[in-house]
Amino acid sequence: MFTNLPIIILLLPLLAFILMIFFGNKLPRKGDWLATGMMALTLVLSVVLLITKVGSHSAEVFTSSFDWVVVGSKTIGFGIMIDNLAAIMLVVVTLVSTLVHLFSIAYMKGDVRYSRYYAYLGLFSFSMLGIVLTNNILLMYVFWELVGISSYLLIGHWYEKKSASNAANKAFIVNRVGDFGMFIGIMILFISFSSFTFEAIFDSISAGQLPFGSEGWLTAAGVLIFCGAVGKSAQFPLHVWLPDAMEGPTPVSALIHAATMVAAGVYLVARVFPMLTADALMVIAYIGAITALIAATIAITQFDIKKVLAYSTISQLGYMIMALGVGAYTAGFMHLVTHAAFKAGLFLGAGSVIFAMHASLHKLHDHDTDAQDIRNMGGLKAKMPVTYWTFLIFTLAISGIPLTSGFLSKDEILAGTLAFSTINGHWLLPLVAFTVAGLTAFYMFRLFIITFHGKAANEKILAGVMESPKVMTIPLMVLAALSLFFFYSFNPFGASSGWFYSAVVRPASMVPELLQPAAYPVFYEAVSSVHTIAMVLSIIIAVAGVYLAFMVYQQKKISAEKLAQRAGFLYKGATNKWYFDEMYNRVFVNGSHVIMKALRWFDETIIDGIVNGAATVTQLFASISGWIDTNIVDGLVNGTASTANRAGGLLSHIQTGKVQTYLLFVLFSFVVLFILFL
């Protein structure tokens, strides 16, 4: 059950990928039914697996592996591992994937590379499931990169656009930077513990082994592995790729850049959680906080519907990371799950809007208006009821309004950070967390209101807008349902009593006692003691944010422009995404350009020059000896005669053609040798 089923789940999307890449174009309807069907089958199997696993109410971990390769005396095995975490994640991935497959049937209709698109979706699903299922950090790295490449391929799906291929490159390269750290972390672990499996690594650590015998290296290993998560989950300072990744088709954004792949970083941190030291966790928590704050501020200022969602994704991922950092493990992971549902919903909803806008613009033969700019929308509520209502649910969920799933998870996170700060005084974390909660509610409703309410920016466009077809709205409805509280906990105000909390428990830390966070022993008590305060605070702040958005954008009581002016450089900074792109361009892109140009010059001029220089130097010697010949030797020979006209020539200069000169040399050498011999 736990050996074969996961493997089938893993391999089905791969099979879909292979079939689609080779035969996609030859199948009827270009094979979309095949891909979607196989994905749906995977979903069913995953659900079966989840129910069996969680239903068994045991924390048991199933692993099975085989020997991949033997190097020297070390055996490297690959295998799968099923625990509750993985089982839940499986369903999340397959569910969103299936819905996205379904959604795409309409959204991508008529695309030139339709079957290729489905193939890549299959490849992505396979890789993502690989990340979820693996028992082994190396294999995780493998799939990690594979999701990277499928993300690359999908972002660059419309590669004719320069911006799309740029975004694809950026995504991959920025991720590589993170992976670089992760790779080094993996190397540290393998060199120290001779194994890649989580189990073996944790066992070694708990047995008191430290990498290179140093606690610092253990922290370093943790932080380096976390670098992978920083890249993939778009955490500060590597968050810059995600907004650009919106160049991909919107369903892709929903699947990869909102629900699953970007959450893989969180999953990774959750996976390696037992080996993280207190210092590493602190780093993680602060990185998460910074990310959450930065992204939220930027989100306020954006007008591209997908960009707003992208920054909100970054911000929410920051939340999750922060939660893990402070030790609110379950809350962080739960937020991952809930966020997957409502953020995928938001993106698909946005996709639905964009699809409609496109259709309308297409009818108007308008190719200049940006279909994704919310300033071109407005008043869509009437035209697209299903999209509107589902979108509202998603917005409420992300804003953390009670009765939604988002409230449940976010509330726990806030409680966790607050509890954390009460124990060791890192008050910055809850401060950021609550600020971001308010900001989230504000900018999400800003988006929602501008898009759906109010006056249409252009009546003509609005007139052409129609509700999306069923294949698109059904996924929205499913996701909307999943964004409500009861799927996670029957108590709408506390998740801790739900099945989720019992299924996912924070694993025990394996690091030496001294390195464990001081907060752990008393953490849960602290959480329960601050829980109510946190909940109240969070509701107040969320509602305040929503209210403010209403004031500004619905009622127009407060002028958005004035607010922006008041904020001054803060606004300017946020609009320009805090200049991260510019800075990276200056430093890294230009820097590497300078280096590469310099090295190229160096290579072609110096290194090659030295080689060619061997000839030059020979020539130099030649001319020097030629000069000596002409001016000294010949001068000697000819007494007084000027020899300036005898230019050029090497040793051939001695070869004057005059036999007496030759004899002179011979006898001269003879005399010299003679003297030497005396």
């Binding site: 040793l651 070869q655 036999v659 000169t661 004899l663 011979v666 006898l667 040798l673």
Partner: protein
């Protein structure tokens, strides 16, 4: 005394055959006026007969004519090489267009040729300073005239004149050196000289001076720096067949003489060690002297060759450089070194003659000696082009050609003898040599021939000669054991 003389004559048959050949050619020249190649065939017959007699002497170790000359495997080895060279050069001469304008004089050509062969054969066997000098002069005087054989050509005349002046002065100096050596040791036989020196000669300065002066003469013959100046001019001016003869046969004979003279006269017979190295007579530093000359020859020869456009001139400088490599084997003062010299010369014979031969074919057909004008010849004459490439590659010393084996042994001997710096110079100059050898190859292949320039065809006999040169070059590159053993056995005459 008479018996001794008669016995000696029976061991001197190869040389006598050559004298007879000379005489027969004189007669034939008078009788057979209209036979184009009559003299050549007689010469070939003579050389072949001489060769047979040389072979028959294999293994004999005897001193003949009252110690004047020796018949031993060492001499046999070199005589074989010389006769090979002679035969090839006769064949070249029959093919050479250059000589065709002088058909009425071909009799004289072959007379002098056999005279030169005789001189060289005598050089190889001579063990007496007088006979050495005499043999050297016989070879030299014939070659002076041969270098100027194409006398209508200004260049050829000039070459002959330069050659004889240079040669006369050099042999004069050498003679002076010989006179001093004889004076110091009161002996003319090289073994007696060695005995005298071994018995203790106090006048080491005099000995050194005489060695130096003798080296001037032999250095001239070998064309080694700083006594090489004549070589490029003479090779360029002389008919190509004679240039080939000078570059190969002359050098072989002179090396044989040099080796015999030095390694018999100036080594400390009591200092022979079991490791096969010897030491020179106390006070005479000829090892270092020759080492310096070898290094200079390698450097100067290879560097100067870089600038040459005339292929004969280029080959002249290359032969100077090769003289340097060969000399390295002597410097080491071990039987290893001598063996390697012999192997080198054996292979050098084929590859250098080959290069000269193809140059001659190209001159016959394309009428040029200029490397610049070799452009596209590789396409026009694929076989000859490929052959020249192989010869040049072999001269560079790349496997799987004989040249590689030759270099391998010389370098190996140098390293085993501890002359690392010399080996290093040899290595570096080998790299330099690549530039000018490969330039020829490049010109032949990397340029398209002119549209109207047709394919160059050669007759069967030309091809046969070409293959006769090519096969040993390639064969020795892969399987050189027979040569090695031949050379090694030929060393036995020195008793070590």
């Amino acid at each position: 005394m008479v018996e001794n003389t008669l016995h000696s004559i029976s061991l001197y048959l190869p040389e006598i055959v050559l004298v007879v050949t000379l005489c027969v050619i004189i007669v034939a020249d008078l009788v057979l006026k209209n036979q184009k190649h009559a003299s050549a065939w007689i010469m070939l017959g003579g050389l072949a007969t001489a060769g047979i007699f040389v072979m028959l002497q294999a293994g004999t170790v005897e001193s003949i004519f009252f110690g004047m000359a020796a018949v031993d495997p060492f001499a046999t080895f070199f005589k074989v090489l010389l006769i090979f060279t002679g035969i090839f050069v006769v064949l070249f001469s029959m093919k050479n267009r250059e000589l065709e304008g002088y058909s009425s004089r071909m009799g004289e050509y072959y007379m002098l040729f056999s005279g030169m062969m005789l001189g060289m054969l005598m050089m190889v066997g001579a063990t007496n300073l007088l006979l050495m000098f005499l043999a050297l002069e016989i070879a030299s005087i014939s070659s002076y005239v041969l270098a100027g054989f194409t006398k209508r050509s200004l260049r050829s005349s000039e070459a002959a004149m330069k050659y004889i002046i240079y040669g006369a002065v050099s042999s004069g100096v050498m003679l002076y050196g010989i006179s001093l050596l004889i004076g110091v040791t009161a002996a003319t036989d090289i073994n007696a000289i060695n005995e005298a020196i071994a018995a203790g000669v106090e006048q080491t300065m005099m000995l050194n001076i005489s060695v130096l002066m003798i080296l001037v003469g032999l250095g001239f013959k070998i064309a080694v720096v700083p006594f090489h100046f004549w070589a490029p001019d003479v090779y360029e001016g002389a008919p190509i067949t004679i240039a080939a003869l000078l570059a190969v046969a002359s050098k072989i004979a002179a090396f044989a003489m040099l080796i015999r003279l030095f390694s018999v006269s100036f080594i400390d017979a009591s200092g022979l060690s079991t490791t096969g190295t010897w030491s020179s007579v106390e006070g005479i530093h000829w090892g270092l002297l020759l080492g310096g000359m070898a290094a200079l020859a390698m450097i100067v020869g290879n560097l100067a060759a870089l600038r040459q456009d005339n292929i004969k001139r280029m080959l002249a400088y290359s032969s100077i450089a090769h003289a340097g490599y060969i000399l390295m084997g002597l410097v080491i003062m071990s039987s290893e070194g001598l063996t390697s010299i012999m192997i080198y010369l054996f292979i050098y014979l084929f590859m250098n003659l080959g290069a000269f031969y193809v140059a001659m074919l190209f001159m016959n057909k394309a009428g040029t000696e200029s490397i610049e004008e070799y452009k596209g010849l590789g396409h026009r004459a694929p076989l000859a082009g490929a052959a020249l490439t192989i010869f040049l590659v072999s001269l560079t010393g790349l496997p799987p050609t004989g040249g590689f084996v030759a270099k391998l042994y010389i370098f190996g001997a140098a390293i085993s003898g501890g002359w690392i710096w010399l080996a290093a110079i040899a290595g570096i100059t080998t790299i330099i040599s690549l530039f000018y050898y490969i330039r020829v190859v490049r010109n032949m292949y990397f340029f398209k021939p002119d549209e109207d320039a047709g394919r160059i065809e050669f007759d069967i006999s030309s091809k046969v000669i070409l293959f006769a040169l090519l096969v040993p070059v390639l064969l020795t590159g892969l399987y050189f054991q027979p040569v090695l053993e031949f050379a090694r056995n030929s060393m036995l005459m020195f008793g070590f």
